[in-house]
C-alpha cells in the first residue's frame, strides 16, 4: 500500500537530527514539522528572513509582519532571530543549513532536479529553490512517484532544471531512493512502502537504479 502524504512526511522526518537547521518547502515538506521527535532540537529556517519559527498564531493574534516563506502567518519562539534576505541566503548558500526538504516535478538518476517551470504554462518563478539546492548540505525531495501515470523519476529531466546534480534522496509514495550525486554512483532504491513490490516500482520508474541488497528478496 502506498504511503499517504502524512506518511511520506513522517518518513522524511527520519532524516532530521538533533541540532539541525532545516528549510522546508511548501506542500508535503511543510507537514514534516508535525513529526519532529519530542526532545529533538530542530530549528526551521524561513528564507524570507527568520530562523526558528513556531506554530500558526491563535485566532486574532495574526501579525502581518510575521510570515513564513509560504506567506502564512506564524509565531516566534525563544530561539527566533530575524535577518535580511541577504543574510538568509548567506545561511543557505554558505552551507550553514543542514537539510532542505522540497517538492519536485521531475528528478533524474544523476540528481538533476526540475521543480520551477513548465515552458509556456507556468510562469511563477523559482523563488529560493535554486539557492537552496545549490547550497544546503543535504537535499531531500518528497513527491508523488508519478504524475497522471507519467513517471517523475527519469534518466534525464525534460523540464528546465532547478539544479544540476543536487538531490541526495527522493521519498515518494512508493519508496525511498538515494542518489550518489558526488561520485556518480547513480540512484539506489533503499526502501519500499508497505506491500509495494519491486515490480511496481520498476513499471513506474523511467530512471535506472540499483536495488539495495536488503530489498533483493522482495
Amino acid at each position: 500500500m502506498a504511503w499517504t502524504r502524512e506518511q511520506m512526511a513522517e518518513r522524511a522526518a527520519k532524516e532530521l537530527h538533533d541540532g539541525y537547521y532545516v528549510n522546508l518547502g511548501i506542500g508535503i515538506p511543510t507537514l514534516v514539522s508535525n513529526y519532529i521527535p519530542q526532545g529533538m532540537s530542530v530549528q526551521l529556517q524561513s528564507e524570507n528572513g527568520m530562523l526558528g519559527f513556531g506554530p500558526f498564531p491563535f485566532e486574532g493574534e495574526e501579525d502581518p509582519d510575521l510570515i513564513n516563506a509560504g506567506k502564512q502567518t506564524v509565531t516566534e519562539l525563544p530561539t527566533t532571530s530575524y535577518f535580511s534576505s541577504a543574510d538568509s541566503f548567506a545561511m543557505i548558500r554558505g552551507g550553514h543549513i543542514d537539510l532542505s526538504i522540497l517538492g519536485a516535478m521531475q528528478v533524474a538518476e544523476n540528481g538533476d532536479l526540475a521543480n520551477w517551470m513548465i515552458p509556456g504554462k507556468m510562469v511563477k518563478g523559482m523563488g529560493g529553490a535554486m539557492d537552496l539546492v545549490a547550497g544546503v548540505k543535504k537535499v531531500v525531495v518528497v513527491m508523488e512517484h508519478s504524475a497522471e501515470n507519467e513517471p517523475k523519476l527519469l534518466k534525464r529531466c525534460t523540464l528546465p532544471l532547478t539544479g544540476a546534480g543536487v538531490v541526495d534522496m527522493v521519498i515518494t509514495d512508493l519508496g525511498v531512493f538515494t542518489i550518489d550525486k558526488k561520485s556518480g554512483g547513480g540512484m539506489t532504491l533503499v526502501e519500499l512502502a508497505p506491500a509495494v513490490t519491486l515490480e511496481e516500482i520498476r513499471t513506474k520508474t523511467a530512471a535506472s537504479y540499483h536495488v539495495a541488497n536488503t530489498l533483493q528478496a522482495n
Binding site: F56, E61, I67, K71, F83, M126, D131, A164
Partner: protein, 245 residues
Amino acid sequence: MKKVYPDAKAALAGLLKDGMVIMAGGFGLCGIPETLIKAIRDSGVKNLTVVSNNAGIDGVGLGLLLDTRQIKKMISSYVGENKTFAQHYLAGELEIEFNPQGTLAERIRTGGAGIPAFFTRTGAGTSIGEGKEEREFGGERYVMERGLVADLAIVHAWKGDTEGNLVYRKTARNFNPMMATAGKVTVAEVENLVELGRIDPDHIVTPGIFVKRIVHVPNAPKHIEQRTTRKRTDPAVPAGTGEEV
C-alpha cells in the same frame, strides 16, 4: 539638510522619470512600501523597470502599477500570486527577468556595496546560468552574476529617526536593508518617526547615510496573504502547523 518630507508625493518630487529603474522592498505583501507605491501610481510615471522579490497581488502593492501598466519589466524571483501579471506576461505586454531569490538579494547587496559582480553556485547547469561567465572553484561550477543598482529605491521600515536611521520589524525586514543601499536615491517610509537619539545606535539596521528622504506613514495599511491560525483549545502544536482558515 532636512530629510523628512510631509507626504509620499513630496518625498518623491523630482525623482520620477519614465523608463527609470526602481527597487521596491518587501516579501509578498510583508514590508512593502505601499504608500510610496501609491504615490508612484498617482504620478503616472511609466515604462518602469521594477526590481522586487514579488509583484504584489491584484490591486495591492506593485499590483497597483501592473493594473495601470506603468511597469515595462520586472526583475523578481516569484510572481505566482498575481493574476494580472500572468495575463500581461502571456500577452507579451510585460517583460520578466527571473532571478533566484538569493541571487537577487546578493545582486542588490553587492550593487549597493560597489561590487560589480560575484560568483555563485546557484543556477549553474540551469537556464539561469546560460550566457553567463562561469568559473570553476574547488572543482565546482560557479556562475558570474552582476551587482544591481537602481535610480530609486523605496523601502518600508518600522521605525526611523530624522537622520534616516532605520529599524525594521520581524519578517518585514527582508529585502529592505539591501535595497536601501542600492538606490542612487533611497526614500524610506516609516511607521514610527522619532527624534534623534530615540533609537539605540546599537539597534540601527540601516544607517542614515543610505537614506535621502523619509516620510512618516503612521497608518500604513498591512495585508495578510495567507491567514493561518490555530484554535485556542489546541494542545501544543509543532512549528508551522495548524488549521488553515
